[in-house]
Each structure stands twice: as C-alpha cells, then as structure tokens.
Symmetry: C2
Subunit: 329 residues, 2 copies
C-alpha cells in the first residue's frame, strides 16, 4: 500500500507540450483516428477528445455498477459465514459501498453534461470551417485571375464576393472565440465541481465505513474458544443513519467560477450559444446569427481584411443576410 | 447538472438482505458463475466477489488511462486554437487532469492490495472445506454401520477417526474465523483509506484547476474586436506549483483502525495467516499448523463433539500430527 504523493516526473515541466517529441507511438491506427479524419480540420482534435471522454465516462459507469454489485455480494457472503459480527458489519459496509458506487455513477452523469458543452465548441468549430474555406477559395481565385487576366471585369465581382466572405468569416471567428471560451469554462466548471462533489461524498461514506470496521473484534481465538457475543448491532445501524444524514446535508463548498459570458444573452453571440445548445450532431450545420438579427459590428481584425474597412457600412446587412440564409439551410 | 444528495430508496432499509426476494434476475449465466460452481461451496461467494472486484479495478485503470490521454489531447487542442489564453489554460488544466487520472490509477493499485487480502480469506475458506467434509463423511459412516452392524469392531476405529477429524476441523474453523475477521478488517481499512486518499488528492487538484478557469476571460467580443491580451501566464504557472506543493504535503488524516490481530503472530493462527499470505492459488491446499507446532488447546465448541471432551488429552498430539502430515502434503 502506498501513501506516497504522486506527481509523475513527466509532468514536472508543468506542460504537456515540451515533451511532445519524446513520446513515440503516440499516434496509433484506430477507428477513432479514421473517423476523426472525416471531420473538418478545425474540429478534428475536439472530436477525438469527446470520443475518448465517452470511453472514460463508460469506465466510471462500469466501476460504479461493479461496486454496487460487489457491495451486494459482500452482504451475501457475510450472511453465509454464519458469524453474527461479520454478517452485520459486511451488510452495513455493503450499504455504504453501494452508495460509493452510486456516486461514481452520478459523477459519470455530470461528466456527460461537461461532454455536452465540449460538443457545443466542436459544433461551432465545424460550422466555422466552411467560412474559412470560402474566404480562402475566393482569395485564391482572385490571385489566379489577376495573374492570367489582370483586366477581367470578373475581378470586381470576385472582390465583392471576397468582402462578403470576409465579413461572414469575421462573424464566425468571433462566434468561435466566444463559444470556445465560455463553454470551455463552463465545461470544466462542471467537471471539476463533479470531481469535488464525488470526492467529498465518498469521503463521508468511507469515514463512516471505517467506524463500522472498528466494531469487528479481530483478536484471535484458540480452537474451541467461543467468540465474544456481538454487541454493536445498534451502533452499526446508527453509523448508516449518520452517513445518510451527512450525505443529505452535503452542500457545495466550491467558489463559483466567474463568467462574463452571462452578459451575452442579448448579443448575437448569446443567440449563437443558445442555438448551439440545441444542436448535438457532429454534422457541419452552420450555427448562424438567427433570423432577424444583425451583428452589431463587423469591423475587421488585423491587416488581412483591409477591403472590409472601406465597405463596412455597405456590406454589413448583406453579409448578415448571407449568414442567415446559411444558418437556416 | 445535479447537486442533489443521492441515497437510493432501495438502500433505505439499511440492509441489502431484506430486499433479496424482490430482485428478479439476480442470477445470470456467465463464465464467472460457471467457474464459481467449480469452487468448494465455502469459498464460492468470495471467489465470485474477488472476480467482480477485478473487473471494477480494471474499470478504474481504464478511467485513469483515458483521463491522462484526454488531458494530453486537451493541451494539443488548446494549442491548435491559436488563442493564447485558451492555449495556456488548457495546457495547465491538462497537467492537473492528468494527475487526477494518475490518482485513479493509484486508487486501482490500492484496491489490488485490498483484493489480495480477500484472496487470503478465500484461500482459508477453500482449505477448511475438506475438514468439514471429512468429519461429515466419518459421522455418516458411523451412523450407517451402527444401523447395519451395531457390534462391528470397525466402529471403534471409526470413532477414533472421528475424534481426529473433529480436532482437525476445530482447528481449521478457528483459523477461518481468525483469518476472516482480521483480513476483512485489514482489507476494508485499505479500501476505505484508498477512497479517502484519492478523494482528498483529487479535491486538491480540482480546486487548483478551478483557479485556472478564472484566468480565462469569457466575456463576448463583437466581430472584429480583438481579445484583451492574456496576462495570467505567470499566475497559471504558480497554480501548478501550488498544486504540486499541496499534493506533496498531503498526509493521511484517517484514524487507524484498531486491530487485535497483531497479537496473533506467535499463535498457531498467526502462523496460518503468514502461510496464507504466501499462497494465492485457488486450490484446495490445507493451510495447517506448520511443523513442530501443536494447537494450544483443542477443546470443543458446542455439543456436537462430545467425544473429544473425553479423549482430549489423548488425541491432541495425534490430531496435531495428522494436521502436520496434511499441511506438508
């Protein structure tokens, strides 16, 4: 039995990334990998992570189920020993162990909630990819045409299309960062709170279980000597009642995580978040602005979209309309 | 997300057993069941429990492994977002999550220790069964002979054999209760302490992870607006260092479980316990007294062995010799 504090040396650098090159065999062929490749580039990593999380949740569910079953078996076994003390204590211990198992299952359910939030990020990533592709495609066409046919009138049309594509992408990228940050925060708020809840409740249960163990007299007898009569039946029952009271009066002690995202409800991005909550499919649906809403501002970021600056007022409704059309498709 | 206290109604009776009849389908065909049937009656229940525990431990190992893998994937994904804040926080969060995963694995290892102690009880059960069978067989032969041939001289020999068999069984039963009680106590001491250790350490890790989340500004931006620069890099690094310090300075807080079994080391039962520790096979080896030792006392318990009372002095060395012979076989 180990009581050592374990912080593995590979974590010592306080980052995963620095050791990246020294981890051979990190990539393996698997169905998961194959399916991941069918996803758009942008959402591929999260797609795989969400899949792995599903496996982890399944493992917790399995552990919880087994623990409940073992608890029942322990009680049965104790009864079969025909030793009154072993019988009573194993039965009561079984009740507490079963509850520890139930906590594993509740933990798994909270992880499902967390996983649902990660899916919202993934879905937004999936929906942003086409706007990047479209913008890149038009930029590419313009470059080719400028080289082959610099005086073509088609260039004007393409430049207009580019401005619209840039506007659409700009909105999508804002949605992506807003959803990513707020949902990431919310997801790990739930995840870490669930870790703490499971832990605190299991500590309650395990501490009461240890009280039960002290009622079992394990001093050895010599052959033929009888055991002292078991006199802790009422106390053992009291332990279970105490455990139940403690568990019922458990309250979260974690500090809430601060969030600026609550203010988004009335913004386009708030609408996006709501739309994303409804959608759970892995498909490439565009999570757009919602009908009847326009982005409040689509001023560009950085230097790669100078043309929008000039035409900002003119294209805004148009770009917004394009988004709406796509989001309703 | 649920914060409710969960104490399922089926546990309300504070015992498993009262609901036994209302659990249809509790017995299923499975390899486990089939194998269990090959075990002696006495150790069958524990045999199955130990098998189920192996599955539970496997589930925790799997959960731990997935958590570590997901932590690494989270860090990779964060980097790919090209958002400095998301990148740094997901990487640091990954380190803490990986450690939470490692704690699952350490927990599984402690459960292996606990499972080893249950095996010691099971092995003793297995070894006691033949002494019960032998005693029952001779008793049966005597009854038959008394009915068929009441004056047979073979009866005297059989009565002597019975006395020896009773003595042997009496020792075995004492060994069984001693091993059962002390190892059961020790096993769940380890199990519950491991539940508490995992819980306390994961609380430390999850609370520090929540500090990280607060460094992520999730207030929404409008399209085109830049994010405020990320300025929590040093603080985030400090969180990991704090977590590592807290984890390293963790100490068990559980009260030790009292045990009277430590006093057994010099008794025959102490010898048995030591012998059982060496043996992990499911076979039917007799764990006997060990060479050169005699039971200190083989006075009978109950009324079903009156013949021993009369011949106690005479048969004691003989019974002991029989035990020795069998234990060395």
């Amino acid at each position: 039995m180990r009581w050592r504090t374990h912080f593995p040396s590979r974590n010592r650098s306080l980052s995963f990334r620095s050791k990246k090159d020294s981890a051979p065999g990190r990539y393996r062929f698997s169905i998961g990998t194959f399916r991941g490749l069918q996803q758009p580039e942008l959402s591929r990593k999260l797609f795989k992570l969400i899949k792995a999380e599903n496996t982890a949740i399944g493992a917790y569910e399995s552990a919880g189920r087994e623990r409940v079953s073992i608890a029942s078996q322990l009680s049965d076994w104790g009864e079969s020993t025909e030793d009154e003390a072993v019988s009573d204590i194993s039965d009561k211990l079984g009740v507490l162990l079963a509850e520890i198992g139930e906590q594993e299952d509740l933990f798994a359910q909270s992880l499902e909630d967390y996983r649902g939030l990660l899916k919202q990020i993934r879905n937004t990533e999936t929906s942003v990819q086409p706007t990047r592709d479209q913008r890149a495609k038009i930029t590419d066409e313009i470059q080719k045409l400028k080289y082959k046919e610099p005086t073509s009138t088609k260039l004007v049309t393409l430049e207009q299309e580019l401005v619209r594509a840039e506007a659409q992408n700009l909105v999508a990228e804002a949605q992506l960062t807003n959803v990513t940050r707020s949902k990431l925060k919310e997801a790990f708020d739930i995840h870490t709170a669930a870790v703490i809840e499971r832990a605190e409740k299991q500590i309650i249960l395990a501490r009461h279980a240890r009280r039960l163990l002290n009622f079992l007299d394990d001093s050895p007898i010599v052959p033929g000597d009888p055991r002292l009569a078991y006199e802790h039946s009422a106390e053992a029952k009291q332990v279970l009642e105490d455990a139940e009271i403690d568990l019922r009066s458990w309250e979260r002690t974690v500090e809430p995580i601060s969030s600026g995202a609550a203010a988004t409800k009335e913004t386009p991005d708030g609408i996006l978040a709501t739309a994303a909550e409804e959608s759970d499919a892995g498909g490439a649906e565009i999570v757009g602005e919602g009908p009847g809403r326009e982005p409040r501002d689509i001023s560009p970021i950085g230097e790669d979209a100078p043309s929008i600056k000039q035409e900002k007022e003119a294209i805004a409704p148009e770009a917004s309309g394009a988004l709406q059309a796509e989001s309703q498709a």
